[in-house]
Amino acid sequence: MEKLLSIDHVSMTFGGLKALDDISFDIHRGEIVGLIGPNGAGKTTLFNCLTQFYKEYEGTFTLYSDAPVDLGTLKVTDVIDHGLARTFQNIELIPDLSIIDNLLIGAHASTKDTFIEEVFKMKRATSEEARLRKKAEDVLAIIGLTAMKDFYVKGQPYGILKRVEIARTLMSDPTLIVLDEPAAGLNDQETDDLEEIIKIIQKEFNVTLLIIEHDMGFVMNVCDRVCAINFGKFIAIDTPAKIQANPAVQEAYLGRDDDA
C-alpha cells in the first residue's frame, strides 16, 4: 500500500504538559482512518500540528501528495495548496453567506484571478467564478444539498452544516481530508446519512480521510483502520474490531482499574 502521510515522532508541550508524546503512524492512500481517544487525549492538538496551526511541535509530518513535502516547512495558509484540507470541531462556516458561497471559499487557494480583474469584472474573473460555481454545484449534488444551495448557512440544522463543512473541503481538490468530530451533535438519522456521504466522497473524489470521532458506532462503520491515543501517547492502530477488543484501549476509555 502506498503511503500518503507519515507522522514521525511528533511531540508537543503545552505549558509544561505533554499534549503529544512521540506519536508515529502512517496513513495509506485511499483509506479512512479514525483517530480516537478520551477527552484531552491530544487528538485535536495533533490535527492542529498537522495543519500547521501549531508550529511549536517536534517531529515531522510528511505528505506524499505529489512530491513528498515536510508540512512543517509550510505556512498555515499554504497547507491547502498541497492537498490537505480540514474541518473544525465547532463548525467554522460563514453564517451570513449562502451555502454555495461558503463552498466557494473552499476554492480560495485555487482561484487565480487578481483583485483588479475582479473589480472590473474582466474575463478571467468572471470565467473563474463561473467555473467554480459549476464545481460547487457538482459537489453539492453529490452531497445531496442542491436544493439548499442559495440558503443562508445561519439557521440551518446542525446536520446540514456538518455536511456543508465537508463539502467545502472538497472544493480545493484535496488528497487528504481531516475531519474533526464530524458526527458530534448529530442525531442517529443524521449520523447514518453522514456515514453514507463519507463513503461516497471517498469513492467519488478519490480522497483519503483522517477522522477524529467520539461516536464509536460511526467509527466502526466508516473507518478502515482506527488509531487510539491517550495522554498524548500512541496506543494502537488497527482494524476497528481489533481496536475495540484491545485491552489497552478499553483501559484508556474506562479508566485504570488498579486491582484488575
Binding site: 495543519t51 496551526f53 498555515v76 495558509t77 499554504d78 497547507v79 491547502i80 495548496d81 484540507a85 480540514r86 473544525f88 467554522e92 462556516l93 460563514i94 453564517p95 451570513d96 453567506l97 449562502s98 458561497d101 466557494l104 471559499i105 473552499g106 480560495h108 487557494a109 482561484t111 484571478d113 483583485f115 475582479e118 473589480v119 472590473f120 469584472k121 474573473a125 467564478e129 442559495d150 440558503f151 443562508y152 467545502r168 480545493s172
Partner: protein
C-alpha cells in the same frame, strides 16, 4: 386571493428584472439622485437642502468603505474622519502645487491609501478592542496635523473653481454649475457603489468575510490574514479619501478643523443603522443619520443630530442588529406569513436575499 396573486406577479416580475439586468438598480438609483438637482432648479429643493443632499452623497462613500471594514472584515476604525479630511485637504494641497484636478485626486488617493495599508499592518498586531484605540490615535494624529501644520493653511483651504478634463470649469458659486457638480458626485457615488458590489461579491469579499467570521477556517482555506487585513484597511481608506475628494470637488473650500472623532462616529452610526454589508443600506443609513436631523428635525427641535444618532445606534445594536436594510427582508417574511395565514397553506418558503 386575488390581491396576493397580483402582488406575487408584480414582485416576481420586478425580481426577475433586477436579476437579469444587474445594473438596472444602480441606474435607477442614479436617475433618482439626478432628480434632486432637477427639483433644485425648479425651487422645490432649496440650496441649503441641496448642500445637505450633497453631503449625504459624499459621506456615503466614506461609509461604504467603513462598511467593508466593519461589516465584512469585522474590524473597526475610529479614524475615518481623518482620511476623509486627508482626501479633501490633500487634493487642495496638490492643486496648489499646480497639478490638474484629476492628477491631484490620484496622487491623494495613492498617498492616503498607502497610509491606510500601514494601519492594516498594525491591525495584525493588535486584535479587536486594541485596534479601535490604535485607529483613534491615528485619527487624532491626522487631526492635529491638519490643524497645526502650515501647508494646510490655518482655518481652511480655498480651492476655487475646478477644471475637469482640462476644459470643463465648474464653480460652486454658480447655481447651475453647482447642480452639475451634484450630478457628477452622484454619478461618482453610484460608481463607487458598483465598485463595492464587485469587490464584495467576489473572491475578495468572501475572503474578508471568512477572515472575520472564522479566522482559523479562513487560514485553512488559504486566506492570508496579512494580505486581507491590509486589503480591508486600504479599501476603507481609499473610499474615505475618495469621499474627501468628492467633498473638495463639490464645496471647493475645505475647512481643516471639522475632521474630528465626532465625524468618525457619525460615519460608524451610518453603517450600524443602515446595516452591515448592505450597499443601499449604507446610503439609507447616511440619509437617516445626517439627512433626517438636518433636513427635518432641526427646524422642529434644534440640533438633535447627536442624540438622534446616538440613540439610533444603541437601539439598532440592542434590538435590530441587521440594520434598516434588513427591513425589506423582514417585510417580505411578514408578507409570506400573512399570506400563509390567509391562505391556510404552508407552501411559502422563507425568502432569501
Amino acid at each position: 386571493m386575488k390581491v396576493f396573486n397580483t402582488l406575487d406577479t408584480v414582485f416576481n416580475a420586478l425580481g426577475r428584472f433586477f436579476k437579469n439586468v444587474p445594473y438596472a438598480g444602480y441606474g435607477l438609483f442614479l436617475l433618482l439622485l439626478w432628480l434632486i438637482p432637477l427639483f433644485h432648479s425648479v425651487d422645490v429643493i432649496s440650496s441649503g437642502q441641496l448642500g445637505i443632499f450633497a453631503y449625504i452623497v459624499v459621506i456615503t462613500v466614506a461609509a461604504l468603505g467603513l462598511n467593508i471594514l466593519l461589516g465584512f472584515s469585522g474590524l473597526i476604525s475610529l479614524g475615518t474622519a481623518g482620511f476623509v479630511g486627508a482626501g479633501a485637504l490633500g487634493v487642495g494641497v496638490f492643486l496648489d502645487l499646480g497639478l490638474p484636478f484629476e492628477l491631484a485626486a490620484i496622487a491623494t488617493l495613492i498617498v492616503s491609501t498607502a497610509l491606510g495599508a500601514l494601519i492594516g499592518l498594525f491591525s495584525l498586531k493588535v486584535e479587536g478592542i486594541y485596534l479601535a484605540i490604535a485607529t483613534l490615535f491615528v485619527g487624532e494624529i491626522l487631526r492635529q496635523i491638519f490643524t497645526t501644520v502650515p501647508i494646510f493653511g490655518g482655518q481652511s483651504i480655498m480651492i476655487g473653481s475646478v477644471t475637469l478634463f482640462g476644459f470643463i470649469e465648474l464653480s460652486t458659486f454658480s447655481q447651475s454649475e453647482r447642480r452639475v457638480l451634484f450630478a457628477i458626485i452622484a454619478a461618482l457615488l453610484v460608481g463607487m457603489m458598483i465598485l463595492m458590489q464587485h469587490i464584495v461579491k467576489s473572491k475578495t469579499g468572501r475572503a474578508l468575510l471568512a477572515m472575520s467570521r472564522s479566522s482559523s477556517a479562513a487560514q485553512a482555506m488559504g486566506v492570508s490574514l496579512l494580505k486581507y487585513r491590509l486589503m480591508a484597511f486600504s479599501l476603507a481608506t481609499f473610499f474615505a479619501t475618495f469621499s474627501g475628494i468628492m467633498y473638495a470637488l463639490y464645496n471647493q473650500s475645505v475647512p481643516t478643523t471639522q475632521w474630528t472623532l465626532d465625524l468618525s462616529l457619525f460615519v460608524i452610526a451610518m453603517v450600524v443603522v443602515g446595516g452591515y454589508k448592505s450597499i443601499y443600506g449604507t446610503f439609507i443609513g447616511a440619509f437617516i443619520i445626517y439627512g433626517i436631523p438636518n433636513l427635518y428635525l432641526k427646524d422642529l427641535f434644534g440640533d438633535v443630530s447627536y442624540i438622534f444618532s446616538g440613540l439610533l445606534i444603541i437601539l439598532v445594536i440592542l434590538f435590530y442588529q441587521n440594520g434598516v436594510a434588513y427591513l425589506a427582508v423582514d417585510i417580505r417574511l411578514l408578507y409570506a406569513k400573512l399570506k400563509r395565514r390567509i391562505h391556510g397553506g404552508s407552501h411559502g418558503k422563507a425568502p432569501l436575499d
